[in-house]
């Protein structure tokens, strides 16, 4: 064997050997594992919603019986209620978050203030959900601080009952925890809008309102869509807030899934979950279609890359 052949053989072997340890296998392995622990369970859940439970065993016999029983048992009422609360709360979060994000990104000039606000918005992600929700009972409740102050100061003679264990309490409890997911995407997108666009718009004689609706709003669409999705997704199956602040009066899809699981009605839980995901997909599709009219999302990514 000549030296040349030997050398090329070594080079070839080394290339193959180093391939084993290079990142070529990282992504495929990751994708395979991720499909097994994320996508396969979701697909199996969809399949389960067409099965039935008999004597605490799942009967693998496809039918619409579980779906029929969902409609008959009146669980659709909680679905409608969930939908209403999700839509109302997403709208409220957006109405507060969009102006706030605009202020944070373009008006607020202090870097320290920005950093502090971003930190403040992130921390609640890491707080135990039950304790930060149950404490509202000590604030909104019959003997809570609000009723105490109102009665001590003589504004009210009777405690306000609707503050806790009501739909108001559930809405109120949801407001703050779901705010950051709406602010962050919108804030990031508005930060990326070049100040020169806004100056140009003003120089060309556009009013503030025109600049808002023709420049800022279309350019921040991807952020608005992302914020809407990230707020709606956890809201659709929210569980802690209705359980702790609704006091059994506000039955939503989340607690229904939990109840079905505890009654070992897996197909029912599966069907409810599939329903949640289907609604989210519809929302997403509508959101994307509705916003397409204002400007193509692809265009905006193009501008961002600049």
């Amino acid at each position: 064997m000549s030296d040349k052949v030997q050398k090329s053989l070594i080079v070839g072997l080394r290339a193959r050997y180093s391939n084993l340890f290079s990142r070529d296998w990282v992504i495929p392995t990751f994708i395979v594992v991720w499909v097994i622990i994320v996508i396969v369970p979701l697909l199996i859940m969809v399949a389960h919603s067409f099965f039935e439970m008999k004597q605490y065993r799942v009967v693998y016999d496809a039918s619409f019986k579980t779906w029929d029983s969902l409609i008959d048992s009146g669980r659709w009422i909680s679905a409608v209620r969930t939908l209403r609360i999700v839509l109302v709360m997403t709208a409220i979060e957006f109405l507060v978050a969009f102006p706030f994000a605009l202020w944070l990104a373009k008006v607020c000039k202090s870097k320290v203030t920005k950093a502090v606000i971003i930190t403040l918005l992130t921390i609640p992600f890491f707080v135990d959900p039950s304790s930060r929700t149950i404490i509202w009972r000590a604030i909104l409740g019959r003997n809570g601080i609000i009723n105490f102050v109102l009665m001590e100061t003589g504004v009210n003679n009777e405690p306000i009952e609707w503050l806790l264990f009501s739909e108001f309490a559930v809405h109120f409890g949801i407001l703050a925890p779901y705010f950051p997911t709406m602010v962050f995407p919108i804030f990031l997108v508005i930060t990326l809008i070049d100040d020169e666009y806004l100056e140009a718009s003003r120089d060309l004689g556009a009013s503030k309102l025109q600049t808002l609706f023709r420049i800022i709003l279309p350019l921040s669409l991807p952020g608005i869509v992302a914020g809407g999705v990230f707020t709606m997704v956890p809201l659709m199956a929210t569980w802690v807030e209705p359980e702790m602040l609704g006091g059994g009066f506000v039955n939503l899809l989340g607690p229904s899934v939990d109840a079905a699981m505890r009654e070992l009605k897996y197909p029912t839980a599966a069907a409810l979950s599939v329903f949640v995901i289907a609604l989210l997909v519809i929302f997403l599709a509508v959101l994307i279609l509705a916003t397409r009219r204002l400007g193509s999302i692809g265009d905006i990514f193009h501008t961002m890359k600049r």
Binding site: K111, I118, T122, V127, I135, A138, G144, L209, V276
Partner: protein, 290 residues
């Protein structure tokens, strides 16, 4: 500067229009818009922190579910110590689980995060990786439960909670590493290769120090997201009890246990808030310099 700058003089325009246009312009010209926007947002942020502050105050109260904190007492903390055998185990399990999730998140997020920007079409991989962000926690928990318990008929335990937590925490960790990895200049590695640095040395001496804030962030997020995870754990627990599950069962069903949960949560907050604050402070200081 921007159209929302306070005090800018658009009021003169208001007089030009007529009818509807006039009122719209008046509304747009309303100079308190920026401060309204700011204060509405800040009020919601304050609403986020009222429960945390009140939690800490009421943990020292003699009647924690009443309107007034007085009279003060440290009785609940003493009681908390006495019941260590009840909450010690869940706390220990949550810490161990959080640490494992953190380490796995750091390793996987680094490996995948540095590989994704090198792909020709990273969009698909990224979308698959981020799917769990589009599925509500309770739904993902139910799906994993049906898959593991009902379909595969395996025994649930800490390992199944771990999978649920990993699915939840990894997308965030990955995004944190990616934020930095996409800006990484690969010519640095080529230069190091030309200078004769071996593969491991190239990673350890060049890539790792640059990715470090993202990797540390991936670990902290992994730990804390796992440590406070409830919606997935509740289905995947089997007979295990983590800290959030313990808090949930105690607060939801045992009114008498609530004061102890208040003091326990206060202690945990007192530990985690400075860690997070410090992390963000370092992160912003670092971003500011680069």
């Amino acid at each position: 500067m921007t159209e929302l700058a306070p005090g800018s003089s658009i009021t003169t325009h208001g007089k030009i229009g007529h009818g509807g246009a006039l009122s719209w312009r008046r509304i747009a010209a309303w100079t308190v818009w920026p401060s309204t926007a700011k204060w509405l947002g800040l009020i919601v942020i304050i609403l986020m922190y009222i429960p945390l502050v009140w939690l800490a105050v009421m943990s020292f109260s003699d009647r924690p579910l009443s309107g007034i904190p007085y009279p003060l007492t440290t009785e609940h903390y003493r009681e908390l110590l006495g019941e260590f055998n009840k909450w010690g185990e869940p706390l220990y399990e949550s810490v161990i689980l959080g640490l494992i999730v953190a380490v796995v998140c750091m390793i996987v997020a680094t490996a995948v995060g540095r590989a994704i920007p090198r792909l020709r079409k990273p969009g698909g991989v990224l979308l698959v990786a981020l799917i769990p962000l589009f599925v509500p926690g309770l739904t993902m928990g139910a799906a994993l439960f049906i898959f593991i318990r009902s379909f595969l008929e395996l025994r649930l335990g800490l390992w199944s909670i771990f999978i649920g937590h990993l699915v939840w925490a990894l997308p965030f960790s990955l995004l944190l590493v990616l934020i930095i990895a996409v800006r990484f200049d690969h010519r640095l590695l080529e230069a190091a290769e030309d200078l004769g640095a071996k593969k491991w040395r190239r990673f350890w001496n060049i890539e790792f120090p640059i990715l470090r804030p993202g990797i540390i962030g991936a670990g902290i997020f992994g730990f804390l997201l796992s440590f406070n995870e409830l919606l997935r754990s509740i289905f995947l627990r089997g007979s295990e009890t983590t800290m959030p599950i313990y808090n949930w069962t105690m607060t939801a069903s045992h009114q008498s246990q609530v004061p102890i949960i208040f003091s326990l949560s206060t202690i945990i907050l007192a530990v985690t808030l400075p860690v997070l604050g410090g992390f963000f402070w370092l992160l912003f200081a670092k971003l500011d310099r680069s």
